[in-house]
């Protein structure tokens, strides 16, 4: 039996005031994990700014999230463009007066054998994940320094410390973001800015192009996760709850940390699963 998810974490575990009146920017906030994070944050009182390239999906997500009673603004942003990032920051400060939380979630990846990865393909992913996270962190960081503090959460993945076969560009970028997390934690602690990362199990989300993967990998990926230590993959809310902990005051002495939300999946499979394969 897989490890259960408690559908009432809100508000058996978290208080509805956990992020009350905080302003959070979530990049890639219109879909997938970004949307899940924004939603959970809204449930505990945060006002949101959702940023991504696709405005229609952002507006749709905003509509859904507003039902929890907080304000949600959408700003079309390609984080590879510094001017667009500056615009995102400017619009947020104009609307809300501050930026308490930045969730660097926007990413991109596709799978391909590394010997076939084109220069363009490499650069597209590195530009979004590494450069984009850098631009957002620096522009928002300047605001946070002025206002006396803040909180940055970088969504990476366990590929940051393990590498990721067939996704060299994504893993290298995530590792770069992980390093940046530590640098900024060491440097910006004195400004009351905490900087942490959350590592879900790679890959996450619908960006995988399975047809380019070798067969043995796709077979493992579709097993449903019953051979994972917790008997299943994680659900986006569980990653969001980890991000929420890092954004909240309850983690006030946690900075420079990469929180692993992979259910020990990279540490091994359930012993009987491993035995039955040998």
């Amino acid at each position: 039996m897989p490890y259960p998810v408690n559908p009432n974490v809100m508000y058996d575990v978290y208080s509805p005031t956990a992020l009350k009146d905080r302003v959070a920017i979530v990049t890639g906030g219109g879909t997938g994990l970004g949307k899940a994070i924004a939603t959970e944050f809204a449930k505990v009182g945060a006002n949101l700014v959702l940023a991504a390239r696709n405005l229609a999906r952002l507006d749709q997500a905003a509509e859904e999230i507003r039902q929890y009673g907080t304000k949600v603004m959408t700003v079309q942003t390609d984080i590879r463009e510094v001017e667009q990032v500056r615009n995102l920051v400017r619009r947020t400060v104009e609307e809300y007066g501050k930026i308490d939380i930045l969730v660097n979630n926007a990413a991109g990846r596709f799978d391909t054998p590394t010997e076939n990865l084109s220069k363009n393909g490499w650069y597209v992913v590195v530009n979004i994940v590494l450069n984009g996270t850098w631009y957002c962190s620096q522009e928002v960081g300047k605001v946070m320094i002025k206002q006396g503090g803040g909180n940055i959460i970088n969504i990476i993945s366990n590929s940051a410390w393990l590498g990721s076969a067939y996704a060299a560009h994504s893993a290298a970028s995530k590792a770069g973001v992980w390093s940046m997390t530590k640098t900024l934690a060491a440097e910006w602690g004195k400004y009351n800015i905490r900087v942490n990362a959350v590592a879900p199990l790679a890959p996450v989300g619908p960006t995988i192009n399975r047809s380019s993967l070798p067969e043995e990998l796709t077979q493992g990926a579709s097993s449903g996760g019953s051979n994972l230590p917790l008997g299943r993959p994680g659900v986006p809310q569980e990653i969001a709850w980890a991000a929420l902990f890092l954004a909240s005051d309850a983690s006030s002495y946690v900075t420079g940390h990469g929180l692993d939300v992979t259910g020990a999946s990279w540490l091994g499979r359930r012993p009987e699963a491993a035995r039955s394969e040998s």
């Binding site: 602690g189 230590p229 002495y253 540490l267």
Partner: protein, 272 residues
């Protein structure tokens, strides 16, 4: 908007029912981090059993919990003795019916050049930290397997990955407990048991042995967050790991050291 330490963080963030109905057993629960964790967990609904060698301090912790309206029990235990451990487990189950959370916090350390460390000195610390954590994890783990789940939290230190000059026995033991955390995280997931560890801030940890409050304050001012960590903050991390909000986190080490060691490595705090 204030940033930094919020003395009301616990109930601003967590519901008062976050650990309602759960029974938490905290080793080394009479002082410092163990006591801090016990009190914070009680504030969000847990019943508490604390054990340690010193009954007087333990009883004070149990009293503090009872004053909050929660159930508590203090049991004497030397974690180097598996029979005493089994006795604590049996008495807890007898009194409370179950154990939901185990916090392996009991530890021991002292500073000594490695060339001068005696056989007895080595074993005293390794027995307490490593063997104690394993025996307790196994004794409580068997119960959790029968019951269908639970949460184990090991308190280690960043000496686990950095080593620690003149504290070789403690650092090696903490590293081993970190490793044990990963093994059990991978193994016991199938029993609905999650196993994680916490690295508290170095200053909080040192408060248990060597430093005066003045020394702690000075060390804190050099840290990236420009202050020392508190035992309450360790308690809040433990609550997160014990709660359902961390349901996909196991085999993980939560670094609550405020990047103090990163600051030292980067010499960032020394340039300001």
């Amino acid at each position: 908007m204030a940033y930094g330490f919020n003395p009301n963080a616990l109930l601003d963030t967590f519901s008062p029912t976050a650990l309602k109905g759960r029974v938490a057993l905290v080793t080394g629960g009479g002082t410092g981090i163990g006591k801090g964790i016990a009190l914070e967990m009680a504030k969000v609904g847990a019943s508490i059993v604390v054990c340690a060698r010193n009954m007087e301090r333990l009883e004070r912790t149990a009293e503090d919990v009872k004053v909050m309206g929660r159930r508590a029990m203090a049991l004497q235990c030397d974690v180097r003795d598996p029979d005493q451990i089994q006795d604590v487990v049996n008495k807890t189950i007898q009194e409370f019916g179950k154990i939901d959370i185990l916090v392996n916090n009991a530890a021991g350390r002292f500073n000594i050049p490695s060339e001068d460390l005696s056989y007895n000195g080595w074993h005293a610390v390794v027995n307490t930290v490593l063997h104690g954590s394993f025996y307790f994890s196994q004794a409580v783990g068997k119960h959790m397997i029968e019951r269908g789940g639970g949460s184990i939290i090991n308190i280690i230190a960043n000496s686990a990955w950095l080593g620690s000059a003149e504290v070789i026995h403690s650092a090696a033991s903490k590293a081993a407990v970190w490793n044990l955390t990963k093994t059990l995280g991978a193994e016991w997931g199938k029993y609905n048991i999650r196993v994680n560890c916490i690295v508290p801030s170095a200053v909080t940890e040192w408060s248990q042995s060597q430093s005066s409050p003045e020394q702690q304050a000075r060390q804190g001012q050099r840290a990236p967050l420009r202050r020392a960590g508190t035992v309450q903050e360790v308690g809040w991390m433990a609550i997160f790991l014990a709660s359902d909000a961390s349901s996909y986190i196991t085999g993980e080490c939560l670094d609550g050291s405020g990047a103090s060691w990163l600051g030292r490595m980067n010499q960032a705090s020394q340039q300001d």
